[in-house]
């Protein structure tokens, strides 16, 4: 017996046998495997220069310890959730705002604080579950995810739904509160809206002890998309995250860069103003700053200067179409001009190929080129269509296909003139 024991680790064949003893299905059923990822073989390089460090800090995934400029919303959500959890009554809250305004980050921060006070014993126990509409292949998979996070078991959605229904409709004094975060709510809306209805109906049950926090982009989603009964259950506790203005964006970037002097002068302000003028998206401001550090690094600068930021902004808020027109062949540019003049002649945006071809002849002679035949012109048209400078109909319509300019006529003129000079 003893000898056998010592033998086992030595022989490789037995070892492998032991690992592969269970068939994959069995392992799946037991669920004792936690998914793991391959380890990298080389260590990650530590950031050495201030620019690299700044870039690391500026990454979108790095969550700061406290979220600047969102104190008011934080307090609102915190007091709502804290009240519900300490009252042990259910409820829902709807949070909306355009992308990149810190909705999910703020909610997660609130939940972290609540968990902290739960661990300190100031708050009754609660379970936290989060689902994301974007991560579900189908709205009903939400039941599976919720049940999985509650118990760790994986079932079909019918079964999960039944179990959840039982759990939330029966009151159980031993069970604590449950906090459910539903991100991207608008993706859970189907025609029947049964998933949304159920998610919002459970909190109204007496024994459920469920608080649902829903997040979506659209401000008027309840009125626009949801049915009357679902809106009624969603309630009126709503919170809107406004887009950041330039001061706030500046503060956000500056708070991440505290302690580094990687950015010179008023560079941050330029980024903040540019982004705030368009969308007020914090992710975008951070991305532009990161790109600016990369540009500065390529140019062997210690500090990000105004020029780098300018280039980064131009890159990120770019208009590639003029570039594309500039790099077209001579004949293609003439073709675009022909389309423009046809639009000008008819006054209608949509033009027919054969009329454009008629315009093409004189324009070619003016430029001293030989006029291409119809087949060549059609091939050009198809190329421009593939670049999306033109919108074409199907090519089997030949000369009768209608064309639409996908760039403004001014852009075409501008690009062509700039080359001529």
């Amino acid at each position: 017996n003893n000898r056998k024991k010592t033998n086992i680790p030595k022989t490789p064949s037995k070892n492998t046998k032991k690992i592969s003893m269970e068939t994959p299905t069995k392992a799946m059923a037991k669920m004792y495997l936690t998914p793991s990822m391959h380890q990298r073989t080389v260590n990650i390089v530590k950031p050495s220069t201030p620019l690299q460090e700044a870039r690391l800090k500026l990454h979108v995934s790095v969550l700061p310890k406290s979220l600047p400029c969102r104190e008011e919303q934080f307090n609102d959500i915190y007091s709502f959730l804290h009240a519900r959890l300490s009252d042990k009554s259910g409820g829902c809250i709807y949070i909306s705002g355009v992308p990149g305004t810190g909705k999910t980050a703020t909610v997660n921060e609130v939940i972290r604080c609540l968990k902290k006070s739960m661990d300190a014993g100031k708050l009754t126990n609660f379970e936290f579950i989060d689902i994301n509409g974007m991560k579900l292949s189908e709205p009903r998979q939400a039941y599976v995810q919720i049940w999985k996070q509650l118990t760790g078991q994986q079932t079909t959605w019918e079964e999960a739904h039944k179990l959840l229904q039982e759990r939330f409709s029966k009151s159980n004094s031993k069970r604590g509160m449950t906090l459910l975060l539903v991100d991207e709510l608008d993706l859970l809306c189907t025609k029947r809206q049964d998933v949304v209805y159920n998610l919002l109906d459970w909190p109204t049950k007496t024994g459920a002890k469920l608080v649902v926090v829903t997040i979506a982009n659209t401000m008027d989603l309840p009125e626009r998309v949801l049915m009357g009964k679902v809106t009624s259950r969603l309630g009126l506790s709503r919170l809107t995250f406004p887009p950041y203005n330039y001061k706030q964006l500046e503060e956000i970037v500056a708070s991440r860069l505290r302690g580094f002097n990687a950015f010179g002068g008023e560079t941050i302000q330029l980024v903040a103003r540019k982004v705030a003028a368009v969308s007020g998206d914090a992710r975008r401001a951070l991305d532009i700053c990161r790109r600016a550090t990369e540009i500065a690094e390529n140019n062997d600068r210690e500090i990000v200067s105004m020029i780098d930021v300018k280039r980064a902004v131009d890159e990120m808020i770019a208009s590639p179409k003029i570039q594309a027109i500039k790099h077209c062949s001579e004949m293609e540019r003439i073709f675009l001009q022909a389309v423009c003049s046809e639009v000008h002649r008819t006054g209608v945006e949509e033009v027919v190929f054969q009329n454009v071809y008629l315009q093409l002849g004189p324009l070619c002679t003016l430029n001293g080129e030989t006029t291409p035949n119809v087949t060549e012109a059609l091939a050009m048209c198809a190329r421009l269509g593939a670049w999306r400078l033109l919108l074409c109909e199907h090519s089997r319509l030949d000369v009768y296909q209608r064309l639409l300019l996908n760039v403004s006529t001014d852009d075409v003129q501008f690009a062509i003139k700039a080359v001529d000079v």
């Binding site: 009252d87 009554s89 259910g90 009964k229 009126l236 203005n245 003028a277």
Partner: protein, 538 residues
């Protein structure tokens, strides 16, 4: 628990059990059982517990113990009672007489029904100094209420209807309609909880939104009835019909959110509504939905046969008086009636009744008002006494001292937030990015000055471009422009009808122009752009 020896009846009890060496806790449970209205005695006990234990958590623990005692001890008590009777011979005055006819099972039901729950809620109120607001918040919950104020007439009708069919043992169908939040489900669940119906009926309650598809309703009903299950929908349907044709107990089938059962040819709904007319079936069918005339519009064939036609019952949306009654009743139950002033309540109820008459909304707003008042007061208390954080007792006493009722002003601000709509919310914060402002102004320019009101994104971009060029602003590319439009769309100002090409998608303004100009908050820019006709020409 030792304190319970001071209960008024323990003396009597001692004479019963003095020699048996029972624990005092047993004593107490006997006392609560001794007379039928158990509720009257438990509060006194509760108080004792409260006094003995200062903190909230302690009292909670006690409560749990109490409950357990109640539940676990009940069968024993019966036995004890009998023994006591046999031993002593002398019957105690009244309690046993009222008790003796009841069976243990009903007693159990009585015990678990109300008393412990209520005590649970009441207990922390007296202890916790700052809990007045939170009590009000709890009282205004939107879960199933204990008594339905303002729905007495409908409840009466419902009960009459069911009672009538019960007395005559005949089947019937009833369709209950009403806007969301008017208490349809609450009334029905109230009816279903009535002991007399519970006894006489086999009750099946199905919420149709929980069904996977319309036809799965059959298998769900079969499950509830405890029949043998079959796999196919048709099989289960015939099984139900067979069951109905046989002699059986009266069946009360409640289908909540019935409009979810709509299918293409309405086969499911028709067959369900035909069940009451099956000979010998004793089925009372109640369907709940929002639409007033669901049975007429989607089930027109029912009109042809009078015996199939369901009786209709409509739940009107709540009036102002009813909403006020409901809120006052809730607050009175929690003993915090003075949290709302009269005018505040009038305003709240009037506004909600005028807009929707949805009680969920009214309760929601009420709760919100209380929450806001609470947080405001917290600010007031915490700011001047920051050093006081160390000893929370003094802070909390200060809180309770200036716990004043919610007034007109707070209610109005919440109502304005809610019913002012999204326009109102925007005008408060100055948060339109510059490019979005220009986009909206260009749109208004086209709408006002151009002949063609059919605006697509390409055209809008053209005008926007001109406007930007004139002001020496950076012009956004078309792809950026599309995403800018969809950002504005999330606010509900625009509506984009996406076509195959982004350039061709239609844009329509959803807000009134005056409201929009007010929201933009930049009078100079707006008026300048809107009057600038030169940007329109090519």
């Amino acid at each position: 628990m030792s304190l319970q020896t001071t209960l008024p009846f323990t003396i009597r009890k001692k004479s019963f059990y003095g020699n048996k060496g029972d624990t005092p806790s047993l004593d107490f449970s006997n006392a609560s059982l001794g007379n039928t209205p158990t509720r009257r005695y438990t509060p006194t006990v509760k108080k004792m517990v409260d006094i003995s234990s200062e903190s909230e958590s302690d009292s909670d623990a006690e409560n749990v113990v109490n409950e357990n005692n109640n539940i676990t001890k009940t069968p024993k008590r019966r036995r004890d009672k009998n023994e006591a009777k046999e031993e002593n011979g002398s019957t105690p005055p009244k309690q046993v007489k009222t008790l003796s006819p009841t069976t243990p099972s009903t007693l159990l039901g009585q015990l678990s029904l109300i008393s412990p729950e209520k005590q649970d809620k009441l207990a922390p109120k007296k202890l916790f100094p700052s809990s007045k607001y939170s009590e009000a918040r709890k009282a205004l919950h939107s879960a199933l209420p204990e008594n339905l104020v303002g729905r007495e007439a409908e409840l009466c009708k419902l009960e009459e209807y069911i009672q009538f069919h019960l007395d005559n043992e005949m089947s019937g169908s009833l369709y209950v309609s009403g806007p969301p939040g008017t208490g349809k489900t609450a009334s029905l669940s109230k009816i279903m909880l009535k002991p007399k119906f519970k006894k006489a009926f086999q009750i099946v309650y199905v919420n149709c939104t929980t069904m996977k598809s319309a036809t799965t309703i059959y298998s769900k009903i079969i499950q509830e009835l405890g029949l043998k299950t079959t796999k196919s929908a048709r099989g289960s349907k015939t099984a139900i019909e067979k069951y109905l044709a046989q002699s059986h107990k009266m069946l009360l089938l409640v289908l909540d959110e019935m409009d979810q059962l709509e299918t293409k040819n309405q086969a499911v709904l028709y067959s369900i509504f035909e069940w009451p007319s099956i000979p010998k079936s004793k089925l009372v069918l109640v369907g709940l939905a929002n639409a007033l005339n669901l049975t007429d519009t989607i089930l027109p064939r029912l009109q042809a046969r009078c015996e199939l036609k369901p009786t209709l019952l409509h739940f009107q949306s709540y009036t102002k008086q009813q909403i006020m009654d409901i809120i006052t009743e809730r607050l009175r139950e929690a003993n915090v009636l003075d949290i709302f002033t009269g005018t505040a309540m009038q305003l709240l109820a009037g506004k909600v009744a005028a807009v929707s008459g949805d009680i969920r909304r009214a309760l929601d707003i009420g709760r919100r008002v209380v929450e806001i008042a609470e947080s405001q007061k917290m600010m007031q208390v915490l700011q001047p006494t920051n050093e006081n954080d160390a000893n929370p007792d003094s802070a909390s006493t200060a809180e309770s001292a200036n716990e004043k009722p919610v007034d007109f002003k707070e209610v109005r601000s919440v109502l304005n937030n809610v019913y002012g709509g999204s326009e109102n919310a925007d005008s408060e914060e100055n948060s339109f990015p510059m490019q979005q402002k220009i986009l909206l102004c260009s749109l208004m320019l086209i709408l006002n000055k151009s002949k063609n009101k059919d605006i697509n994104l390409g055209k809008l971009h053209q005008v926007y471009r001109k406007v930007c060029m004139k002001r020496n602003l950076q012009v956004l590319d078309m792809s950026e422009f599309v995403s800018l439009c969809s950002l504005i769309e999330t606010r509900g100002i625009l509506r984009l009808m996406m076509k195959k090409e982004a350039r061709l998608s239609k844009v329509s303004l959803q807000w009134d122009q005056e409201v929009l100009t007010a929201a933009l908050q930049d009078k100079a820019l707006t008026s300048e752009i809107i009057s600038d006709v030169t940007c329109l020409t090519n």
